[in-house]
């Protein structure tokens, strides 16, 4: 609870000039979530699908 903050998962976390208290932010209009990395996306394996008319 006392560690509740959204900064660590924001893409601006390292460069953000809005606050130095990056351990206390629970709401922010500038928050942008870190997008899934390419590595993770590569893990997505969709089964090959073949459509057949029968």
């Amino acid at each position: 609870m006392n560690h509740f903050n959204i900064c660590p998962s924001c893409i601006h976390s390292n460069s953000c000039v809005l606050t130095a208290q990056k351990d206390k932010v629970w709401s922010c209009s500038e928050f942008d979530e870190i997008k899934p990395s390419q590595t993770n996306m590569n893990n997505v394996q969709q089964p090959e699908r073949v459509l057949e008319l029968v």
Binding site: F4, I6, P8, V17, L18, S29, P36, M41, N43
Partner: protein, 434 residues
């Protein structure tokens, strides 16, 4: 005689850090004392009605199964169904959800809506999952919550890391669990849905428009013309941009902006639409906007202006910068931008603060309109939405303004008193079962 010796353990007593729940409870207790709230009702409102924790399995893209933990805290429903966001974040826990749910109870009550307060989410880092995994996680969470949510019982909305897409998945999953003839009558189980799936036109600008309206109503009460008045905005996201957009339309002049990337100023004025278009081609950043100068981040709140709109995050106006603030009016677009020490200094200096619980309530009012629209099987036009928002915000603003003047208190204290009194009245009229 043997001598027993022992090393003293070098333990230090942990000083508990003030948490979010402490702050919310302090605000509640202060207002409760002011209105002399009935002790029984104080007991009821000091605790949440229901706290639901669900652990649910989801199949991942690689075929493995992962277990997730989700929460929904329902604080109070004396005025109507629980209402509040769902956030997906690694630091979500029941304690945080509790504080935010209580905060929602006051917010919906003050806005005069037929809602109570709730909050919830999943303890998850969404960046680690694919879109299709997030869809399955959302759908399985909805299924796990089952009848603990519902269009007339508990209505979630988007929050941190959840979007209109998340709400569309929840609505679809929930509706799929209903009997066929009832499915379409359950679309309002969530708000914040996409335009084409029951969403409200104008929902994007509702919070910012509400901030602008609060400033306009205050100006009218104080016989001040907004034309030519200068303002600064912290945060150029949905709230900051739309508030600036509507203020500029009324003749006010934007002279300073700060976002996550930096700060800019121009005493002659910054054209809101030009800046907005610039951010679109500059990775969302206001930095190096051609018609403005770069400003030291620590000097932002001390800029010469009539109105200051902190619309980004909490704890921005503190005892350090409050004595140097030039604005006569602070309109809190963000949640909790002014801390206790900062507020005390500003009030002593005669600066008015339109509190967050009132100033940024346009968003939840917009959610209420979406819910009503779905419930009544209607589709509202943009001008209709804005007109209704205007009316609703004016009612709340006038109540707070008049209460503050009549009781000789600041607008934040007035807002909390009104919110709690409305719930108290409902309990007094209904009594306690059995």
């Amino acid at each position: 005689m043997a001598t027993l010796t022992a090393d003293l353990k070098k333990t230090t007593k942990k000083v508990p850090v003030r948490g979010m729940m402490d702050n919310v409870m302090e605000q509640f207790n202060s207002a409760a004392d002011h209105i002399n709230l009935h002790p029984n009702i104080r007991k009821i409102l000091s605790i949440t009605n229901n706290e639901i924790i669900v652990n649910f399995p989801v199949k991942m893209d690689n075929g493995e199964v992962e277990i997730f933990q989700g929460y929904r805290v329902q604080h109070n429903n004396a005025l109507g169904p629980y209402k509040g966001g769902l956030r997906y974040h690694p630091t979500v826990d029941i304690d945080a959800a509790r504080a935010l749910a209580m905060w929602m109870t006051w917010k919906t009550s003050l806005a005069g809506l037929p809602y109570g307060g709730g909050k919830g989410g999943i303890k998850i880092d969404p960046s680690k999952y694919s879109q299709s995994e997030l869809e399955r996680i959302t759908r399985r969470f909805t299924f796990a919550l089952a009848d603990n949510i519902g269009p007339e019982h508990d209505i979630p909305a988007p929050d941190v890391n959840t979007s209109s897409q998340t709400m569309a998945w929840i609505a679809d999953t929930y509706m799929s669990t209903r009997p066929p003839a009832e499915r379409t009558a359950n679309q309002h189980v969530v708000t914040g849905k996409p335009d084409g799936s029951g969403g409200l036109e104008g929902r994007d600008r509702a919070t910012g428009y509400g901030v602008y309206l609060s400033i306009k109503f205050w100006a009218e009460k104080n016989e001040m013309n907004l034309k030519g008045k200068t303002f600064i905005v912290q945060g150029f996201g949905n709230v900051g941009y739309w508030a600036a957009h509507f203020l500029e339309k009324d003749g006010a002049k934007l002279v300073g902006v700060q976002d996550a990337f930096g700060s800019i100023q121009n005493p002659k004025g910054i054209t809101v639409e030009d800046l907005f278009n610039y951010t679109k081609i500059n990775d969302g950043s206001i930095v190096d906007f051609p018609n403005a100068k770069t400003l030291d981040k620590n000097k932002f709140f001390t800029l010469n202006c009539d109105i200051c709109i902190p619309a980004a995050l909490g704890n921005q106006i503190t005892k350090e910068n409050a004595p140097k603030i030039k604005a006569k009016l602070i309109a809190e677009g963000a949640n909790g931008p002014t801390n206790v020490e900062g507020e005390k200094i500003l009030l002593e200096r005669g600066v008015t603060i339109i509190p967050d619980i009132l100033c940024n309530s346009g968003g939840v009012v917009g959610s209420y309109f979406e819910w009503l629209q779905n419930r009544n099987g209607e589709i509202w036009q943009l001008d209709e939405v804005m007109a209704k928002l205007d009316k609703k915000m004016k009612e709340s603003f006038n109540k707070v303004y008049d209460y503050a003047n009549n009781e000789g208190v600041d607008m934040r204290t007035a807002a909390f008193c009104i919110a709690i009194q409305r719930i108290e009245k409902a309990y007094i009229q209904r009594g306690i079962f059995p």
